[in-house]
Subunit: 200 residues, 2 copies
């Protein structure tokens, strides 16, 4: 009675809003959702694994991927490239698997042009002071980089209107539950279904 | 940071799809949601209580309500009037309370004209044979009325495209969980929020 491809869920928001943590938790709770691994030129943070958290690539390697059109989107952010390899995403969606992308705002907007039927979710911190605290706690960036990130984050909040949903990440469990509900609700949306009532 | 009124959730679908049972269960699980009580001229079924399940009214009383514009919507269905008293719904929404309306399709479409921002949910049975079984089980209508209801139900399935969401009522618990998720997701929708990032 009903056919549909997998959902493309794009999780985005200002740096430090906690989208990575939410994705990680969702992945644990919904193992059937495919988590798209991005490519990046930034250095791995402690604990990050190549091919699992990111594909860590040199600038030269990344530029080759751009030239060969192998990326669904890419962006330069804080002097590093970030991008989404196209092939795996399309294959998963066509086979009916839901795919989650966790990406920066510039990348999300590029995806929206190519996948207007994706589900675009904006994760925001409960306040700017919490955001500042989170970025400092990470302890992997210099003060100058942190200041830049906070400035960017403030500017980026304005992009919320480009998204379908907004999740305030005050408590991880609650935020993950909301994300799970958005997935369930989107699968019930009439516009995602094609109906044939013969034999219903 | 964010202001919004209560959500108006309109639960509709063919007769016998099980929307009443879903509403009843949701009401138990989410006592904060206000369940709008409809007025009707049909006779109470066993166990139904006036003022709780419906306001049971005579045809004359109902016609007076229509004339006085006291109804948000009304319809005649299987030779009975059904309608939604306006006052209580508007008051609840304005005070930030979510309101659920469980109504027939004609009524739902009237509501949509007046409340385009409502959440319109179409409940369908898993199959027409299940629907027939459910209506027979009820045992409160004659064979002729049942035949009419089934014909109407088949025609009414076409209206699904007027709705935002569709829930297939195969298992009550699952259907109620989906409905709960739709409520959570709708509260995260960007278009329902007004943003002021000052002091975020």
């Amino acid at each position: 009675m009903e056919k549909h491809n997998g959902l493309l869920i794009v999780l985005s928001g200002p740096s430090g809003a906690g989208k990575g943590t939410i994705c990680h938790e969702l992945r644990r709770k919904l193992p059937d959702v495919q988590y798209s691994v991005s490519a990046t030129t930034r250095y791995p943070r402690p604990g990050e694994v190549d091919g699992l958290d990111y594909f860590f690539r040199t600038r030269e390697e990344f530029q080759t991927m751009i030239e060969k059109n192998e990326l669904l989107e890419w962006a330069e952010f804080c002097e590093n490239y970030y991008g989404t390899p196209l092939f795996a995403v399309e294959q998963a969606l066509q086979s009916g698997t839901d795919v989650i992308l966790e990406i920066e705002i510039q990348g999300a907007l590029q995806i929206k042009e190519r996948f207007p039927h994706g589900v675009f979710i904006f994760v925001i911190p409960p306040s700017m002071s919490v955001l500042s605290e989170r970025i400092h706690k990470r302890g992997t960036e210099s003060e100058e980089v942190i200041r830049k990130r906070l400035e960017t984050a403030t500017r980026e909040l304005e992009y919320v209107t480009e998204y379908d949903y907004v999740i305030v990440n005050d408590e991880l469990e609650k935020a993950v539950d909301k994300l799970k509900c958005i997935l369930v609700a989107e699968k019930c949306r009439v516009k995602r279904k094609s109906y044939d009532f013969q034999g219903v």
